[in-house]
Amino acid sequence: MTKSTEHDGPWEVERYELRAAPVHHFTANRREFVQVIGAGLAVVVSIDVAHGQRGGRRGGGGDAKLSQRFQLDPDGTVTVFTSKVEVGQGSRTQLTQAAAEELRLPLDKIQLVMADTQLCPDDGGTAGSRTTPATVPSVRRGAAALREFLAEQAAERLGIAQENLTIAEGVYSDSASGKRLTLAELIGEEGFAAKLSEAPATGEISKHSDWKVLGKSANKTAGREVVTGQHKYPSDIQLPGMQYGKVLNPPSFKAKLVSVDLAPAEAMEGVIVVRDGDFVGCVAASSWQARHALEAIAATAKWEEKPQISSDELFEHLKKTAALSGSGWGRPQVKEWGDFKGIGAIFRESHNVKHLEVAYTIPYIQHAPMEPRAAVAQWEEGKVTVWAGTQQPGRVVGELRQVFRLNEDQVRVIVPDTGGGFGGKHSGEVAIEAARLAKAAGNPVSLRWTREEEFTWAYFRPAGLIEVKASVSGDDLISWFFTNYNSGGSAIDTPYEIPNGQTRFLPTDSPLRQGSYRALASTANTFARESAMDEMAEKVGVGPLEFRLNHLKTGRLKNVLIAATEKFHWKDVPSTQAYDNRGIGLACGTEKGSFVAACVEVEVIDNQIKVLNVTQAFDCGAIQNPDNLRSQVEGCIVMGLGGALTEEIKFQNGKVTNASFSQYGVPRLADVPELDIVLVDRPDLSSVGAGETPIIALAPAIANAVYDAIGVRLRSLPLRIT
């Protein structure tokens, strides 16, 4: 039997969360190198070592001290410190709600300082949907401890028993005597700070039934700044004396700089030219001037380019280079159950057994956040501060320390709320580039990648080839053999009850630099599995819904599948075996402790697939902010339309050939189908993240609907009828 899908974590951290390494390596100053090693910090060994020194508490290995987590201001405002970042997923508002809930304060009395490595306790990076299951509870436990401590202090000050104390809106009062005390008065007391630093870090959090702030929609805390253009993103940071930078990029991946003439840029007034090994950049008073200076240099550059795998030979290459053994990140993941060794025999047996042997492919795609990578760097007395758009401030500190050979107290990374991430901003390339330029310029430097640079030099969602062999006897699946080449092991386990099977993830030699993307490989694995489920169902003449229900245990996945299909009126919509160009399809899946099912209706006209409507049910435990959850679920569905229908990085000999929004189609307003979202609230269960799993069921549901519409089975993303 397969492993239960009812788990509540911990699930395995996907290997691609850490895959992409920094691209720049500056020439070592031998003395600095020795000094750093002499100080006992082996920061040049690997990023992971450097990162491990900061990120040890990732995922919740103990709560921050109250004095690290909170600052109390005389006006009664409580400031919460966290290393988490806001990239649009709503963490700023959600963590504000979490603190307000436990502190019994209105939302406007809570402020958040996020992702400043000098000021914030390390809650880990913003990845793997960990903010909701790990950071929200940690902030709540701290806020509860603070509330208890403050109540104790207030009762003492008012001279009453603590059980007689009423707390509301930042005022402590005793209804019997009418005595009252404001939070501001309380914290103004002498010796308060010393007492606070001794207080326990963890308190008892409120039960779901007592929630007053959590569980309700809260408006985005920075909404007014956003609509008035005042909200500052990393690319908006401007410092006195700041200049603008531009970096020379190779004409193709892995190209080596042979020679370059810096003179044309050096001759330009006000331009500073930087060369450090293969790193070449220009700094000037404006980005326009920096660009022109760099273009003058680029025209003289000679490169040694290397022949490379192109997108039309990608999947062959992935299969050919698959690692069947290995260690560390390159290690294959293999899971076997039942009589998996007999699968070959089952597969060859023809008596009463039907078989499926198919392959599915998934291309590289790009996150393409609206704000490309951007950073501002400033050096002061040997220390560097970088404002950068990244989901991993701690890791970027590690990267900066590694390449500049700095101690921890010499690097500060601050992440202003950032214009989109989607798993694409785990690395610190732009922070390193801005820091290198600023070091040479002696002034703060702002650097923002162009869209073309973002499409080319940011890492990609891994491409994948997935092979499925399955057998069915009567109406029952009896064996399941599933191999994912390259794209990853997330959601590779089948949630269906199948007695014999094997799932394998095999790493390969990826021609492109790859890394995390919203939901990681879950989208690829769910696409292959849910497409194959429909193909098997058809072989035995059972409907797609009934076939799945027959193989699912009672539980949350079955529940969302029933919820989605009931809302969609699945059973009332006739399956259009007449192939009249309209069709319906469904798919479901689970990842990171949440559960999703989607039903879609498509129309195919002139070989173009149009998704008319999507009904999706989603369960992520107790809902903390319904409106934000809806935004995340809708955002996943619509973003998933791109990966399903249009998005694909094309590359030839190390060059991306569609590195622009005019050539790489992403979903737009006109593409949005009718959306019907069923949010399944489970107050009895703990909450998990919601920014990833709602993307995984869409592509297979569309592929299944296309088959229903026109009888053509599409096994490659993006889905195209040729």
Binding site: M370, E634, L669
Partner: protein
Amino acid sequence: MQQTISFQVNGKPVSVATDGERPLLDVLREELHLTGTKYGCGEGECGACTVLMGDDAIHSCITTVGDVADAEITTIEGLAAGDELHAVQQAFLDKQAMQCGYCVPGQILTAVALLRAKPQATRAEIIEGMTGNICRCCSYTKILAAVEQVANQS
């Protein structure tokens, strides 16, 4: 070529000594420090850099500063009347039509131009008019609802 270019931004006259070929977007952000206008693609495909020239929405990333000499430019910073938000800004807040919010200034200015031309724009007209503005967080249903709210008030 260095020249002095005069135009109006948010009702105030400005003069900038710069290369006339420089994108308006860069001049707004780097010379005038109006960072509410965002870079998204540099080719007029995503709408993040949208500003108003008179009543028309233009892409400031592919408009040179020389092109706007003597023109009246409105950026997101100039849309509200003091503390009172423009109806479209208020609608985006009411409908919470944002996630990361980076595309929102361009979305709002595109909607303002659309509604000036067609105050009672239909849903189909709004979709057609707004489909040039990409939102990668894909808050599209809420963006549509916000613009429809204003159109329905007219």
